[in-house]
């Protein structure tokens, strides 16, 4: 009995998306060549850099497309993922793990990068294996794999922008994959699937679309995030939006009103947690009484300001986006909040 992720499943995964703002992504000849070969079994190299492995753990939680589907059966009808390299699950270790990597990269493969890439000291801050007695830095491996990959998915905020690993003063000089490719002149398309960690659907849905129609079929925003999942703000879809508009704000955790004063970053965070919910539709942040901390934004966390201080909406938000009626109230509230936390690094 095989559960297939059909086009219908994908459409469900991507529910709520509109492509109104979509930039056309890329035309990438390598992928077309592969589709022409009607590759059924897509080798995947999943590489972990400067991160916490939380993205991998999040993907293990995928449902109803299960991790068993991803590892053993099908991702989309007739297409298998062959996960050749993944440090947390692979049987191979040491030399064998390096061999699995070298063997896979001789043919076509999709690259998934988890974690940021530390540039400092030639990559000394993250080494990912050893060959001939020398440590191999992440920079060297991604610099070699990137140009050969048919597509790259940067999973998580660290791989997308450096994320928490790049929190100022960014000791390891950590960057995301897209920035790394830019610096190295690598032209393989990168799709960012940020989130700290990302929802498993955001990754599985993106992967499914890449497998079905190629990376160029994925419509993304200017941060290279698929619009299907990151097209609207949390604030736009928030069940507490009514109390925001009515100027009713929770002062302590556990109160039912809008969480803006407790630091909610929903107004500047693009994600669909509120309709998708987390962990097999169990909960999501605001439903659990906690503010959105903005984990799906590339600025998270080091450039979004203190987590439990209100953000200054007068500067960061287009008034139209939060609703004209609320705008005046927000400016008032923000002014008060900013006064309260004067001397705070604003983080912008």
């Amino acid at each position: 009995m095989t559960v297939r992720l059909s086009r219908r499943h994908f459409v469900e995964l991507a529910a709520g998306s509109t492509a109104a703002l979509g930039m056309s992504l890329f035309k990438y000849p390598e992928f077309e060549r592969l589709l022409a070969q009607s590759l059924q079994e897509v080798p995947v190299i999943w590489f972990q850099g400067s991160g916490c492995n939380g993205c991998s753990v999040s993907v293990l939680n995928t449902f109803p497309v299960t991790i068993q589907n991803l590892l053993l059966t099908e991702v989309v009808s007739g297409k298998h993922v062959s996960l050749r390299v993944h440090n947390t699950v692979m049987a191979a270790q040491g030399d064998l793990a390096m061999k699995a990597l070298y063997d896979t990269e001789t043919g076509p493969f999709a690259l998934v990068v988890e974690g940021g890439i530390p540039l400092k000291d030639g990559g000394f801050y993250c080494e990912v294996g050893e060959k001939d007695g020398h440590g191999i830095p992440m920079t060297e491996t991604i610099g070699r794999l990137g140009p050969k990959a048919i597509a790259t998915i940067a999973i998580g905020t660290c791989a997308s922008s450096g994320g928490i690993s790049s929190t100022p003063p960014n000791i390891g000089e950590v960057v995301g994959v897209a920035e790394f490719y830019k610096q190295k002149g690598i032209t393989t398309p990168v799709i960012n699937v940020p989130g700290c960690p990302p929802h498993p659907d955001w990754f599985v849905g993106t992967l499914a679309q890449v497998l079905m129609n190629g990376p160029e079929s994925v419509e993304v925003d200017e941060d290279l995030r698929p619009l299907a999942f990151y097209g609207k703000t949390i604030h736009d879809q928030c069940p507490r939006r009514g109390s925001f508009t009515a100027n009713q704000f929770a002062k302590n955790f556990g109160e039912p009103d809008c969480l803006y004063l407790l630091g909610c970053k929903g107004p500047v965070t693009h994600a669909d947690c509120n309709i998708r919910l987390w962990n097999n539709k169990t909960r999501w942040c605001i439903e659990a009484g906690a503010p959105c901390i903005g984990c799906a934004e590339l600025k998270f966390p080091g450039h979004l300001g203190p987590i439990h201080e209100p953000i200054d909406l007068s500067k960061t938000l287009d008034k139209a986006a939060i609703g004209i009626a609320a705008a005046a109230a927000v400016v008032g509230v923000t002014a008060a909040a900013v006064t309260k936390s004067s001397g705070e690094k604003s983080g912008h």
């Binding site: 991160g51 299960t66 947390t88 191979a92 390891g172 906690a290």
Partner: protein
């Protein structure tokens, strides 16, 4: 004599390299090193103290809950409200931790450790009706039909040779590997009820939690817990026993440093002094000769003689972290935590041993029954299989207890207390991650983090030599180990993995420079 370098060690969390020197089939020397540095303790300086619980969760994607709880305990103490946490808040924190501990232990046994013992190819000619085994069989069949063993990733390549399970047990273990993927996911769903989501949940807060109990969420947690308890009793524990029976020589491998430490975990009261709190699993220090003593956190130091830090060896509450990549004589960036100057192991086995020696009747019965089954003395807990068995028993203990904790929740009553960030303060949070003792220390100045230090489980277990040149617990476990086949060093990776190392957690780690480590080699 040869040196075996295993880099990367896979199926752990994070980046780890193990280097052992083998002479006549016996390990003569061993070095463990991590290969990633992120610098949390440095970049958290100047942040709001309340950022800490969110930032430190992101040290580790496998045990974010433990960092979250340790961090809020640390802040509770610094903010002067540690004794004000309402019962609902205390219990819900315990339930959030319990869910992740269960998840972590199932993940560790089946998905991280089992592939060193279980032969996946046993599923190739399966003819029964188990859905998981059918999936694996068809997966293998596809690769064979295509004549391409690379399609067997991530299960191949692997070390070859020492897979000893009889076919029926082997097939059952493969089926349970597949089933356990659902079970660990379910444990996460259970955790998310109160944590908001996982990994990296928002549901913990200084003073308590963000969400109170309701009849509804209690029932939901219990439903999932019931399924998990059934799996632990009827699948996980029997599988561990079945593997141990066949690999019984691994009760004699990997003894280690012979001393253990536990901070204790799962609060039963809100005493302002964390070392006086009554906890479900108690605090203490114990030895392989079964002596037990009280734990005094002031006796913890982090040694840096061989670590690339310019900051001195110190008690973590006074310590600091400043990298010094070219420090003379240093061979790693991992600090070496020590207790009263001695090497100590942390983790499920240490917790179980401390509880056993503290006279916990349930733990004593559980451990004694298991030891009787193998006709072994308690000292075999200090071994590769002893560590696996202790972890499985602990999983049952925690799951059974969590069911009772649900009954103590009181819907409608408070679940947190308001707080003020103090101008100046010091705090300490002591707790246990699934992998062992976890401590956070904070100093606050001008309402900002002035110093934040974390001493994490894998820093204890994977630690390098200390100021007195004593090797760390894993290094000691490896030294003296018998290796039958240097090309397939099963014994080495089994010893290492039994500790469940978690290297992203080891916040001080950086890979040592290859040239420098050479001078410590016995070659």
């Amino acid at each position: 004599m040869g040196t075996i370098v295993i880099d990367p060690i896979s199926r752990i969390e994070g980046h780890l390299k193990i280097e052992v020197v083998v002479e006549n089939g016996v390990v003569k020397d061993a070095h463990s090193s991590g290969t990633l540095f992120r610098g949390f303790e440095i970049f958290m300086k100047g942040h709001n103290p309340t950022d800490a619980q969110h930032y430190t969760q992101r040290i580790c994607g496998v045990c974010p809950v433990s960092h979250g709880v340790t961090s809020v305990l640390n802040l509770d103490s610094a903010f002067g409200i540690a004794d004000k946490i309402p019962a609902n808040g205390r219990i819900i924190r315990n339930l959030i931790q319990a869910g992740n501990t269960i998840q972590s232990h199932i993940l560790h046994f089946y998905h991280l450790a089992a592939l060193d013992y279980v032969d996946v190819t046993a599923a190739a000619d399966y003819s029964g009706s188990d859905p998981g085994l059918i999936k694996v069989r068809d997966f293998i069949g596809r690769a064979l039909a295509a004549g391409n063993t690379a399609m067997l990733g991530p299960f191949f390549p692997r070390y070859e040779g020492d897979y000893r399970l009889p076919k029926a047990i082997n097939q059952k273990a493969v089926a349970d590997y597949v089933k356990a993927l659902d079970m660990r996911r379910l444990a996460h769903e259970m955790t998310a009820i109160y944590f908001g989501r996982i990994p990296h949940g928002p549901g913990l807060v200084v003073g308590g939690v963000t969400q109170g109990p309701t009849a509804d969420n209690i029932q939901l947690y219990r439903q999932k817990l019931t399924v998990l308890r059934d799996f632990i009793d009827n699948v996980y524990l029997p599988d561990v026993i079945a593997v141990a029976e066949v690999y019984a020589d691994h009760f004699e491998q990997g003894f280690g440093c012979g001393k253990v430490l536990s901070y204790g975990v799962f609060d039963f009261d809100s005493n302002a002094d964390l070392t006086k709190r009554k906890r479900f699993q108690p605090q203490g220090v114990a030895t392989a000769s079964l002596s037990l003593s009280a734990m005094d956190p002031r006796s913890i130091t982090e040694d840096v003689k061989y670590s690339r830090f310019s900051t001195p060896s110190a008690y973590p509450g006074d310590g600091d972290t400043k990298d010094d990549p070219h420090k003379t004589g240093a061979y790693t960036w991992l600090k070496a935590p020590r207790y009263k100057g001695g090497v100590h192991e942390v983790g499920p086995m240490p917790r179980m041993l401390v509880a056993y020696l503290s006279g916990d009747a349930a733990v004593k019965k559980m451990v004694d029954d298991t030891l009787a089954h193998f006709k072994a003395p308690p000292s075999v807990l200090f071994s590769t299989l002893g560590r696996h068995a202790a972890r499985a028993l602990e999983c049952k203990l925690v799951a059974d207890a969590a069911d009772k904790w649900l009954d103590e929740l009181k819907p409608g009553e408070p679940f947190n207390v308001p707080f003020e960030i103090p101008d100046e303060a010091e705090g300490m949070g002591l707790w246990e991650a699934p992998r062992g003792a976890l401590g956070h220390w904070i100093s606050i100045k001008d309402k900002k983090i002035d110093r934040y230090q974390c001493v994490v489980p894998s820093t204890w277990d994977c630690s390098p030599r200390d100021d007195k040149d004593q090797p760390g617990p894993i290094e000691q476990s490896l030294i003296g180990a018998k290796v039958k086949d240097e090309a397939n060093p099963f014994e080495v990776v089994r010893i290492v993995r039994a500790y469940d190392p978690c290297l992203a957690c080891a916040v001080h780690l950086v890979r040592p420079n290859g040239d420098v480590i050479g001078q410590f080699r016995v070659a």
